[in-house]
Subunit: 322 residues, 2 copies
């Protein structure tokens, strides 16, 4: 079994680098640090590396301060390079310069290209954290609070708090086991999901105040204009989830969020719940995405953009109702 083979290699080799993908998320950082902490306990010469900036929200994870930029270690030669949560090798970005005798690819994306010398790709796992949990068990290392915090965070974030359809019986069994290691999992939920920036809430307030319904409440429109961003430090702020509020109004089928990113240029995000193909709308304006979540950029004055968006949404809804 490939998982046992990988566990065996990790026990055998000494110089080990662990990397994950650029634009790191809770699963990539959590699974990396879980394995890092476990290998540390085995007195391995192990490095957790990144070629990208890390989101501050995960700085509570044990070992976070030890993550180094791969650039500083490009002359080192590792026995093993463990690549976590990457469907293809280009996802590791600048870390591709790392030299290693062997690449081990551990992932849960069904699209994985099997780029490693050893490949453990389990598309049924909710998260890479779930697979790393099994490997740590196979290595015979006693999981401690540090690894448990990292793995729980990986699973929590990749399942959207046990909500996404990738959540399985095994996911809950592992999460249940992890919380027995005695850490404050409620605090992790808060740090990941209820940890706001003041400027972000002010922007959300403006966006919600702009909310308008059309077609008997089946269409919702939200806006943020160029002036709304004045004096706002956008570095740690994402407005990408604002549109979820509009979509999640009980009566709404179709929602759009118009964001003036520079004067006269509007980024428009569309969402639908069950019937409307919003990608088709976006493709007409040179954008794209998925059927229920898509985006495009429209230039012009606000009235033109707003009218265009509302008319396209009304038309799409009408077409689907026929």
């Amino acid at each position: 079994m490939i998982a046992s083979k990988i566990a065996g290699m990790l026990k055998e080799k000494d110089n080990i680098a662990i990397v994950s993908h650029v634009m790191a998320d809770g699963d990539s950082i959590g699974s990396m640090l879980a394995l890092y902490n476990a290998l540390k306990k085995m007195n391995k010469n192990v490095s957790a590396l990144t070629g990208d900036k890390l989101p501050k929200v995960y700085s509570f994870l044990p070992g976070f301060q030890d993550i180094r930029n791969c650039d500083s270690l490009r002359d080192k030669n590792y026995d093993l390079l463990i690549v976590l949560d990457c469907g293809s090798l280009d996802r590791i970005g600048l870390c591709s310069s790392i030299k290693a005798g062997m690449i081990i690819n551990i992932d849960h994306h069904i699209t994985n290209s099997n780029f490693g010398d050893l490949n453990l790709v389990d598309a049924k796992a909710s998260s890479t954290g779930e697979i790393v949990y099994q490997i740590i068990k196979l290595m015979g290392v006693d999981i401690s609070k540090d690894e448990a915090v990292c793995l729980y965070t990986a699973i929590l974030t990749d399942t959207g708090c046990f909500k996404y359809s990738n959540t399985t019986l095994a996911t809950h069994q592992i999460a249940g086991d992890l919380i027995t290691y005695g850490f404050d999992f409620g605090k992790i939920h808060d740090m990941v999901y209820s940890n706001y920036e003041y400027d972000c809430l002010k922007l959300l307030g403006k966006a919600l105040s702009s909310l308008q319904l059309y077609e008997g409440g089946r269409i919702a429109l939200m806006e943020l204009l160029y002036d709304d961003f004045k004096g706002i430090n956008l570095e740690d702020i994402s407005t990408s989830e604002f549109i979820d509020y509009a979509r999640d109004i009980g009566t709404v089928e179709e929602a759009a969020f118009i964001k003036e990113t520079s004067l006269g240029e509007f980024k428009v995000s569309f969402r639908s719940k069950r019937i409307v193909d919003v990608r088709a709308i976006c493709e007409k304006y040179g954008g794209g995405g998925h059927i229920r979540a898509a985006g495009c950029t429209i230039t012009g004055d606000l009235k033109y953009v707003r009218d265009t968006v509302i008319n396209e949404m009304k038309k799409a809804l009408k077409d689907e109702m026929v």
Copy 2:
């Protein structure tokens, strides 16, 4: 074992009423309907009863339409009255008029007064749903999708999406088992946690726009004035969770939400994160609550109320920092 005894009684008796507490929540309705659906399958003459209005948000639960007002059945005589999720018998409100040969009390509140003829009180269970799951298993009934949806909703809501400290290994194991019955649990998360009213989001927008920070970001203040509620249908709207946004700003220790409920009368909610005792503030103004969540009513003009609230918060923070 008391659980087996109760399962035996449920199998033996035929006329069974199930009630839960007034101001019903996901656990009380979910556990009631799970047991109701299971007993229905056993061809029992079973009634799910309430003496109160039910929150519409749970109308997706199988059997919800069958819940009847206990008033219509006050002349009936039941073999068993199953009381779920009630720490004391007065929690069933008007359903106390129901006549039954025996009362079975099933609950998870540590304060339970053991008011039943049989009492199954498990304070280690996250929810009454978790206990009802065990009873249905002991009755030897095959759980089907309907019961699974009800029990999952009960557990989900009483654990705050597996976040609260009442969540245990057993909780996750049961949730994991329940999702194997093949229902769309993601949709349940959405219906319970992401199901907004337009008017509520408009109010939230106004509240967030009013957000102000003090003391280097450690204090947050939010307001909704009497005029903000004009034209808003308040029947299905709760603003009680708005203050969580203010409290959950990274820098904030102490937050207040001033709500003008009638002209010149302000309901003020306070929250703190770790150090400030906000109950002490509220008690000075005739209010009360918990150390980290409390409320009071202050009358006067807006400037007076706002100054009072800010000064009290600054003082409390200073006292704790000494």
